[in-house]
């Protein structure tokens, strides 16, 4: 691709993602309303669909100030760190056959790295807020990220072994026979668990848990800075869903419809599952969350990796 084409594709992709994140907030609020037997937003536009536009206008025009005693530069920088790495992560996602911005030969690890960087937004934002609740939230975010990142990466290495590649495109092509969630059920379950934690979603949103920390690391944020944190969170949900679809649910593969449509449909379905999980599960205690990651998540991921490796070698092995 030429540079002009890449730029055009990037701009279209970013615009589409921003709109998708906006629409996702509406879907989530309506979905939660449905699951909790109430209406949800239903005033602005048909079925309240334009609520996200109204919210964006409101957030753009709200006052956005640094709390007294806070560190102004870091405070302003932190929300950007929530959104930019996730947007960069979409650069390597394979939306269809040969349809990705950069066909990096280790796209999987690149996305993991980008998701790991989002923790800085929380930690720095929390520190710069000069607020105790925020700082507690920030420290929780750091500990949670360190705990879950360890088995987030390990849980998907079984897929990498089966596909024999770290490239997202090649992993999808390796699933033309059977999707990897059938061959890697444990890996898939662990990946989705860690994915919820990596996207900082309920029930693993201990860093902002409003019942005990006001709003955690976001306590002092308002206006567009606040919106950027939310944008990062919703984009992270879409990115984790896209990664899960690529690794375990056959990516763009599917009958009749063109590849990118299948990809979009699968990502949408998985994102809805994130909302569903949010609605039905209570939040665990903080020590339970971290304890689970180290005592169950990591050992299970290692055993899964060991068994997969043994099977791959036994059945014929990959040529060295």
């Amino acid at each position: 691709m030429s540079i002009a084409l890449i730029t055009l594709f990037s701009v279209i992709l970013i615009m589409a993602l921003l709109v998708a994140a906006g629409v996702f907030t509406w879907v989530e609020r309506r979905g939660l309303g449905f699951l909790q037997e109430r209406l949800g937003p239903n005033r602005v536009g048909p079925f309240g669909f334009l609520q996200w536009v109204a919210d964006t206008v409101k957030l753009l025009t709200k006052e956005d100030e640094v709390p007294p005693g806070g560190d102004a530069i870091t405070f302003r920088l932190a929300p950007a760190l929530a959104a930019i790495p996730v947007l960069a992560g979409f650069g390597v996602v394979a939306f269809g056959p040969n349809l990705s911005l950069a066909a990096l030969d280790m796209g999987v690890i690149f996305i993991l790295a980008m998701l790991a960087l989002t923790v800085y937004a929380m930690v720095l934002g929390a520190w710069a807020s000069h607020n105790r609740y925020a700082l507690l939230g920030g420290l929780r975010a750091a500990a949670q990220m360190l705990s879950y990142e360890a088995f987030f990466g390990l849980s998907l290495m079984g897929v990498v072994m089966l596909a024999g590649s770290l490239s997202l495109g090649q992993i999808v092509e390796a699933q033309s026979g059977v999707w990897f969630f059938i061959l890697q059920p444990v890996g898939c379950a662990l990946f989705l668990l860690a994915g919820i934690a990596a996207a900082h979603r309920l029930p693993f949103d201990l860093q902002e848990s409003e019942q005990d920390l006001v709003a955690g690391f976001m306590t002092e944020y308002s206006g567009m800075s606040f919106a950027l944190f939310f944008l990062g969170e919703y984009l992270a949900v879409i990115l984790v869903s896209a990664l899960a679809v690529t690794l375990f649910f056959g990516g763009w593969l599917g009958p009749v419809l063109p590849g990118p449509i299948w990809f979009g449909l699968k990502v949408g379905a998985l994102a809805l599952a994130f909302i569903w999980i949010r609605a039905i599960l209570p939040r665990p205690r903080y020590d339970q969350l971290v304890g689970f990651a180290w005592k169950w998540g990591l050992p299970l991921a290692l055993v899964n990796l060991l068994l997969t490796g043994a099977l791959v070698v036994m059945i014929g092995g990959r040529p060295g």
Binding site: T74, L77, L104, I109, F110, A113, M114, Y120, G138, A142
Partner: protein
Amino acid sequence: MSWGFAIWAATLALAAAVLSVTRASAVHALLLLLASLLALGAAFFAMSANFAGVIQLLIYAGAVVAVFVFVVMTVDASETAMAHERKLLRSAWRWPALFVGLSVIPILFGIGGGAMDAGAPAAADTRELGLLLFGDWGVATELVALMLIAGMIGVRHLGRSLGPRLRERGRE
């Protein structure tokens, strides 16, 4: 273009690294260290060293957050402590910093002046790298892994639950 971008990113990394050791606030220093590591990752990508770039981002840039936790928990960020730090930065650290700065010159320009003529970057396959690490360099890789296990054993020791007798002693 990619060489130009690599040098630009490397310059950025160097500038951020220098700034990170001259800041009085530990958190600002960490932020700049993070910027430096990210820029270094970008430089690796520009030189087609994708694996090094990704690892730079995931392991190094990703792990600074652990340092951040220690900084927040252990470093005094009050105004008096900062004033003391600024005073130290102005006086005592000047000569050691200059010395380290001098030692960077041969790395930057090469002892024979030829460090930049390493030839066109070659894109290495992940499989080849894996075979190299676990084949020819297998013993070295395993030794490094052992070092990490030592760290894990240390954590296990520090985080153990104390028996009743030890707990009594801890209270005294």
